[in-house]
């Protein structure tokens, strides 16, 4: 079967988390904000144009040519904000997690913590309306297959944390845009991001690495499998399967001593925290906007030797976050904001 693919670059996206997974929402509640040109929708479908017995040298259109069940992918890259990252973590890490806990400060800050559920699939899905001023398309059951968060404050990098997501979704026809109100966003500056690396026996977040970290990224891969049941006529099934949730990271580091590289060679487990504090929210206790990502069981792999970039030994220390007997999940992600709830 020959396939056809359309890629449409989008300039407007609206969304809402689905109350029932796989059931499209009708009215969108939030605009998705992204830099121009950084969002696209890919539509793919097989078309059954197969030459049959040689009545002609050319395939015929007459005998009930049919277009296969379509597959849609939504790719968006955007500047992260402390508020929006919570919405996205509901899709990528753990659903039904839109309410935070007060820090007790005045004015109040609210801690939104994401500890993925180990053995129950509770990822949220969202409906999206995408398009431009002229046309809107409905995409439902949007589930995040991969989410990459990266920081690179160097010249030529990005001023803010960037997030790229790949969403597996289903095309639901044309629609009309709603007029959701905009959400207050406090963007997460890339500069000032701190990385802590500790030994397994230590406490996470104790030893900050200074004078060595250049940039880095964190990727969540949910290994989503879409299902096509034989009765499905136009799009894949509303249900989907999840594979292993793979948490990986890359830290571009200048190795000023052999210590950490020796840990990499030996395959020693490390505890890694990446955090970025933003503006102040309140006092007693002192509370500020905060992004904090913990890997309690991190291993470097593949084990790459450093290369010499100019005068410095710079190496991309890639690795996987895992679990063990005392840490049931590989990642805990936290965002502190000044709102108790985040709009679905």
């Amino acid at each position: 079967m020959a396939g056809f693919t359309n890629v449409i670059v989008l300039d407007r996206i609206e969304a809402k988390i689905e109350g029932t997974r796989g059931t499209a929402e009708s009215t969108m509640t939030r605009p998705i904000v992204f830099p121009h040109g950084r969002a696209s929708w890919t539509f793919e479908a097989d078309e059954a144009i197969t030459p049959e017995t040689l009545r002609s040298y050319h395939a015929t259109d007459a005998d009930n040519t049919t277009v296969g069940v379509s597959i849609s992918r939504l790719n968006i890259e955007f500047f992260a904000s402390y508020e929006e990252i919570i919405w996205w973590w509901n899709l990528a890490l753990k659903g039904s997690n839109l309410t935070g806990t007060t820090t007790g400060s005045t004015p109040a800050g609210y801690t939104h913590t994401f500890t993925p559920t180990a053995a129950t699939d509770d990822l949220a899905t969202a409906t999206f309306k995408v398009g431009d001023g002229a046309v809107a398309y409905l995409l439902d059951r949007g589930v995040v297959n991969t989410m990459t968060m990266r920081w690179n404050p160097a010249r030529g990098g990005d001023a803010y944390w960037m997030v790229s997501v790949e969403i597996f979704c289903r095309f639901g026809g044309t629609t009309t845009f709603d007029a959701p109100s905009a959400v207050t966003r406090h963007k997460i500056a890339a500069k000032g991001t701190k990385v802590y690396v500790d030994a397994t026996g230590g406490t996470i977040g104790t030893t900050q690495v200074t004078g060595q970290i250049r940039s880095g990224s964190i990727t969540i891969t949910n290994n989503i499998e879409e299902k096509q049941m034989t009765e499905d006529d136009s799009v894949m099934a509303d249900d989907f399967a999840r594979g292993e949730q793979v948490i990986s990271f890359e830290i571009v580091r200048e190795l000023t001593a052999d210590t950490e590289f020796a840990h990499l060679r030996a395959g020693t487990v490390r505890k890694i925290r990446i955090s970025k504090e933003g503006d102040s929210i309140g006092s007693t206790p002192t509370t500020a906007y905060l992004l904090k990502i913990d890997f309690p069981v991190a291993r470097y792999m593949p084990r790459l030797a450093p290369n010499w970039q100019g005068q410095n030994r710079v190496v991309t220390m890639a690795g996987r976050a895992l679990r063990n007997s005392s840490n049931t999940v590989p990642i805990t992600a936290v965002s502190v904001i000044a709102a108790e709830t985040v709009t679905a």
């Binding site: 004015p107 800050g109 007029a179 109100s181 905009a182 959400v183 207050t184 929210i281 000044a338 709102a339």
Partner: protein, 61 residues
């Protein structure tokens, strides 16, 4: 005059706004600066209510 009555951050900052509809994110908006459609949209969103303009000095209520 329209007054913001929607949710706020704990810091008092406006949490949701209608800036994508060209309506500024302010506590109070002089509705003569908006089109009738924008006023309708602002009121329909539930984020704003209409309030009487405070009487100007020397003007009778």
């Amino acid at each position: 005059m329209l007054r913001y009555i929607g949710p706020r951050l704990s810091t008092g900052e406006i949490e949701r706004s209608l800036i994508y509809s060209g309506i500024p994110a302010l506590d109070e908006i002089d509705d003569t600066t908006l089109t009738p459609e924008q006023v309708k949209h602002a009121l329909a969103s539930g984020l704003y209510e209409r309030v009487k303009e405070p009487p100007k000095k020397g003007e009778k209520e």
